[in-house]
Amino acid sequence: MSIFQFSLAQIPAAVSAILGFIANNPILCGALFLSYALFYAYAFIHNKAVDSDIYEVDLISSGVSSIMVALLLIGIDESSKSLGFSLDLGSPKGKVAVFLLAYAAVMIFMAFTKMLPGFLVVIFGNSELDLFVNFVAILMIEPSIAITGTLLAVIGVPLILLLAIQRLRRLAH
């Protein structure tokens, strides 16, 4: 199955692959999820905070971390021992890296020019998207895990729900 294919029948397998990965890496996955949990706990306590307290911060942060993840994804397929490295556009990692680099460039440009409307800042600069990008990037390193549309949906849908709940909670106040 490719990255764009989704199958309901594959959901249990995708869930089990993710749970297996977490079980095999309890410290690192625990640290990753705890750091986001800490951020959510803060957001929960300080519910009155606006979606983007500081416009630039969310976008630049997303942009910088995306560039770094993209570079690491490019580098992991690199066999050359020289300082330079090449981009293989045929590989899934290469495609994701290009997408992340483009996304990062747009985010950083928007952060400095402040051209993006507020609601798009919330969509592109939110922690849920950041967690999605980071977690999928980590899964891509694991050779035993195939990145499929089903797997992405299993990770993405709960995060979209989380984003929606956060938004509704804030709108209610």
Binding site: N25, I27, L28, C29, A31, L32, L34, S35, Y36, L38, F39, Y42, H46, A49, D53, I54, E56, V57, I60, S61, V64, S65, I67, M68, V69, L71, L72, G75, I76, E78, S79, S80, K81, S82, L83, G84, F85, F112, D130, N134, A137, I138, I141
Partner: protein, 117 residues
């Protein structure tokens, strides 16, 4: 505690996790992480300088680094987690974890500092 503290602290942890996973992957495949580390360090340093000068006029960044205790806390966590995985990531991987987590959290600090948070 401000959003700034939470943000810099969590960015440091996320950076550590990413760095360990990638360093482990590089190490397992026998790919040297030194070249990507150098490229990344240069890029992050350039970005750090650009951010510092673009977000606020020159000379208005009051604190280039977070407080000493906060820095030590972040560094201590990076070193502790890096040491736990030392066998899997190797010595260069360990230094990569320290460098990567420091630079990403420092960028987060500079952004907050730059926008006057």
């Amino acid at each position: 505690m401000k959003k700034y503290h939470i943000s810099v602290f969590t960015t440091n942890i996320i950076a550590i996790v990413l760095a360990v996973f990638f360093a482990r992957g590089y190490n397992a495949k026998g790919i040297p992480i030194t070249s990507i580390s150098i490229i990344m360090a240069v890029l992050l340093a350039v970005f750090l300088i650009l951010t510092a000068f673009m977000l606020k006029p020159r000379g208005k960044i009051e604190k280039v680094f977070p407080s000493k205790r906060f820095l030590l806390l972040n560094f201590g966590i990076s070193a502790a987690i890096g040491l736990v995985f030392l066998n899997e990531i190797g010595l260069i991987g360990f230094f990569f974890v320290l460098l990567f987590s420091f630079l990403l959290s420092e960028i987060e600090h500079i952004i907050y500092e730059g926008v006057g948070a």
